[in-house]
Symmetry: C2
Subunit: 356 residues, 2 copies
């Protein structure tokens, strides 16, 4: 039986991925030199398609890494001398914070319980903070932060850098890049690609900070320091031989999504989210984990399924639908359903019909 993956990442591939891979094979994309013209054209095309799709200003730099997890490490290395500040309300925001500690920074955090948002009105960012790290969409718990809150914090702290993890909300989340300094994601979620590529989008403030740290003898890493990545991206290249196939595929998918139009994709995403939240709000037993509607993610929907969790996952699988289990301590108590652009309304409704 053909399966449809509603997992929050890796997830269902875009339907056209096999076609693009065949095209890549026929055109020797995986054999060409990463220092040659053909690769530079692919690099330029992908960066350009991505900037158009996500409305990224021209003065931002698109840098390619191995994963979003790597992005956390590289942001801390390149933007933090001593102090970053983290909003922690789940496993991935916690990982971002812990990455800073592992890299020997004296970072601080504000914590909210799993499934909860933050009280942004009262939030005090410590004075010595160099970068404020948001996890806009907590993949572990399905809590989303409205970008308006991020902009508000940036306006109150204009001299501090702001980095935003949009791993499981991109391309749905509508980011005004002029009000943040850095965003990052990986490609195996909303972009529906095979895993193995991370993307970090940075402005000149981030680059200036990396230069400052480098000039003051901080260790900002080697081949994947932002300065090294920037040096090569200026030539439409990467410091190492990168995942050329993934860069190629990302460009193709960005172009396809732009043709559909982000307005349409956002409307569809919101409609599918409404269908799912509505179904579970009305369900007698299974309820959304995130109670406050202001914090309910549109792209990762966590549901308390209690003792029935494994039974639900199995029944859905028998009918061709793969959903995620809860994250870590919620493994046997929740399911998580992704709502990405490749997931269509018909399949959402069909999937829900198998949940009693």
């Amino acid at each position: 039986m053909k399966k449809i993956f509603f997992t929050p990442g890796p997830t269902q591939l875009y339907g056209s991925i096999p076609k693009y891979i065949n095209e890549a094979m026929k055109n020797d994309i995986c054999s060409i030199s990463h220092r040659g013209e053909k690769f530079e054209e692919i690099f330029q095309s992908t960066v350009s398609n991505l900037k158009v799709l996500l409305n990224v200003p021209n003065d931002f730099h698109v840098l390619f890494l191995g994963s979003a997890t790597e992005a956390m490490e590289r942001i801390i290395e390149n933007c933090v001398g001593k102090n970053s500040f983290h909003l922690v309300n789940g496993a991935f925001s916690k990982k971002f914070f812990e990455t800073a500690l592992e890299l020997k920074k004296s970072s601080q955090r504000i914590e909210a319980a799993n499934g909860q948002g933050f009280d942004f009105g009262k939030m005090q960012v410590p004075e010595n903070t160099e970068i404020i790290c948001f996890t806009q969409n907590e993949t572990s718990t399905g809590v989303a932060i409205d970008m308006g809150n991020v902009y508000q914090i940036k306006r109150k702290n204009p001299e501090k850098l702001v980095a935003v993890d949009i791993v499981s909300s991109v391309p749905y989340v509508d980011v005004d890049y002029s009000l943040i300094d850095c965003a990052f994601f990986s490609v195996q979620k909303g972009f529906g690609l095979p895993a193995g590529l991370g993307v970090v989008i940075v402005n000149e403030n981030i680059i200036e900070k990396s230069k400052f740290l480098h000039n003051n003898n901080y260790n900002i890493g080697s081949y994947h320091s932002f300065l090294s990545l920037l040096k090569y991206s200026g030539k439409s290249q990467t410091p190492e031989t990168p995942n050329v196939l993934a860069i190629y595929l990302l460009g193709k998918i960005c172009s396809e999504l732009s043709k559909s139009g982000m307005d349409k994709i956002r409307r569809e995403t919101e409609k599918k989210a409404e269908i799912m939240y509505d179904f579970f709000e009305k369900h007698s037993k299974y309820k959304p984990f995130v109670k406050n509607k202001d914090f309910q993610s549109k792209t990762v929907i966590a549901i308390d399924t209690l003792d029935d969790t494994q039974r639900i996952i199995q029944k859905l699988e028998q009918n061709g639908f793969i959903v995620g289990s809860g994250y870590k301590e919620f493994k046997d108590k929740q399911i998580r359903i992704a709502n990405f652009p490749m997931h269509n309304e018909k399949d959402v409704r069909k999937m829900l019909s198998y949940i009693e």
Copy 2:
């Protein structure tokens, strides 16, 4: 026209790669969870196939990274408090050394000119050296170090760690892992895979050193510290969502190469190398860059082609053969021809026939 890539990496893909990718697509390999059983089976199978192929002892750990360039950074981070020692005779060995400096280590080097080997009999390794870093096969210049010289240095310095870059000689190079501590490579060269995966093979001495540094408050990195990689590899997983497709393909290719048999592959490699070196030794104008036969790489063959370089490259391309140009300062003076397992003798002879 169908092209054959004799480039030193990325290079010609194995002929069966498109078949394995189709198989991966059909079996949803790129959609499965990297925390689930199916991924763990792929991980185990690839590690097992790789260990069989390369004759890696069971007590070594196979860790997956994004590239061989990353491996250089991670080895320095995890094995060097203050001092590493590098044998530098080309661009990649120099990069390994410079990575150590960028990571704020007080590393030292011994240098040989491009195209030259080392006088191992006289070599003195500085006393405070924590790890000796060999680039066994310099992709930039086609100089290879006989593994016997590596073992000799290790025997003289048993308390020092030894790391060996086998990026462009694997799987041809026959390594006795009991006489080194660490080897690393990427998959887009001798393994004929799409780029985007690095592999580092380490023993317990390397892990012990990482633990020592970690316990003494050194920064050994975060998600890709050897301790983090080891924690996850113990569960047949990786810290981040990895390049699952590449891990899957590597396992398939290792299995295929094992079926051919490494003895046969090594004999064929040596025969093809002999054909090429013989051709150029006898050529009136174009000569091997590496003069000393003891240091001539069997897998990356650099030829001084002088003013004719671009003309040769173009003529070969018109006839379906892609060879590499010289590296950096040798770009317009040399060609580099790879000799990997997917390159067959018939094509080598045909390719040479187009060089006047």
